[in-house]
């Protein structure tokens, strides 16, 4: 990462750019962006932590687990898959828990690893990106994002089964 910073600044110097002036200008815009996304973050993260605290996700996990198991998905991965789109911190905590309890080289450990590597926190990205420019109608973004997430979950199980088991 520092290499890229040095490279960019180096090219800037060579091309006679006022690098510090440019940096300050950009950093100021960054600060403004943070100001624009703050309300979105507070609203969304509070709602997600309320949902987690209410036990709704645990209950949903209990409902889905038997179905998932019948389809060859280990039960342990269900809460990770459910939490991943809405909470980065929450799903990472679950990932770490599974790696610790079952081991990173176990079947479930490998699946959650692949899942964590191939998905992003969809809700967070949508809320922050649209929130920053004041867009209220996100149209089919969420649908497309969740389709991608679902595909990633299915494929993490499939690929681990096919190539690593």
């Amino acid at each position: 990462m520092p290499l890229i910073v040095v490279l960019f600044i180096g090219v800037g110097i060579v091309r006679k750019v006022g690098v510090f002036d440019a940096f300050l200008q950009g950093a100021k815009e960054g600060l403004h962006t943070a100001y624009l996304i703050a309300p979105t973050l507070v609203g969304l993260i509070t709602a997600v932590s309320m949902l987690k605290a209410s036990g709704a996700i645990d209950m949903l996990t209990e409902l889905i687990s038997p179905v998932a198991q019948r389809m060859g998905f280990p039960a342990e991965i269900v809460p990770v898959a459910l939490l991943r789109p809405i909470s980065g911190g929450g799903s990472t905590a679950l990932l770490v828990d599974i790696l610790e309890r079952l081991g990173p080289d176990s079947f479930a450990g490998r699946i959650v690893s692949v899942m964590a590597g191939s998905t992003e926190t969809t809700f967070y990205a949508i809320a922050v990106y649209y929130g920053s420019v004041g867009i209220k109608k996100s149209r089919h973004t969420l649908l497309a994002g969740l389709c991608a997430d679902f595909t990633a979950v299915v494929f993490s199980v499939l690929t681990v089964r096919l190539f690593m088991d």
Partner: protein, 195 residues
């Protein structure tokens, strides 16, 4: 959309807490959750400022120009409404490069900048344009070439081969990205209306 989801989440947590008896926890989380959000914001604030500054240097030094040319063959068909040499395309290219390199912290400020540029081309202020939908969907999928944080976690819990999951990660993220973009593109109706 967000109105219903947000209200739904809060409403559901209240209803569920009555069933599960977690009412105390829910009211606690209302306070701690808001605090968490501010902590998260503060933790990314420095990085956001720093990388936005670096991005401005990259723009003025015409580095983003170069990246945009490299990614043009892939990006032009995805964003037919965005001019190849426009500021928006430069920002998108920089965001994608940062994502591929696994610089998640840098990718977000670049992505937010790209949204700002795309918003300038958006005719309806409060409604996402086709390009914005595709761009956000790309950012909800994972584009990382080397998932370093993940491998570090695996190594720290004693994995024999922390990197062995990478081919599976590539395959599932590639397919997921493809599905996401396909859904986004198929349901994008604005461009066709214009054409």
């Amino acid at each position: 959309m967000m109105n219903y989801i947000w209200a739904g989440m809060i409403f559901l947590s209240l209803v569920f807490s009555l069933f599960t008896g977690n009412t105390q926890e829910v009211s606690q989380s209302l306070i701690s959750g808001a605090g968490e959000a501010v902590e998260l914001l503060l933790s990314i604030l420095g990085v956001l400022c720093f990388w936005s500054g670096i991005m401005e240097i990259a723009k003025r030094a015409k580095i983003t120009d170069m990246l945009a040319k490299i990614f043009a063959p892939v990006l032009s068909p995805l964003f037919p409404c965005v001019d190849k040499s426009s500021e928006a395309m430069h920002c998108i290219s920089l965001n994608i490069s940062a994502n591929l390199l696994g610089l998640g912290n840098a990718a977000t400020p670049f992505g937010l900048q790209a949204m700002k540029e795309l918003q300038k081309l958006n005719p309806i202020r409060d409604r996402a344009s086709d390009s914005q939908v595709v761009f956000v969907v790309m950012n909800t999928a994972s584009l990382q070439l080397l998932p370093t944080t993940l491998c570090a976690y695996r190594a720290s819990f004693g994995s024999e081969k922390p990197f062995e999951v990478i081919p599976c990660v590539w395959l599932s993220s590639a397919v997921a990205l493809l599905v996401g973009i396909t859904v986004a593109k198929v349901l994008c109706t604005d461009e066709r209306k214009k054409g």
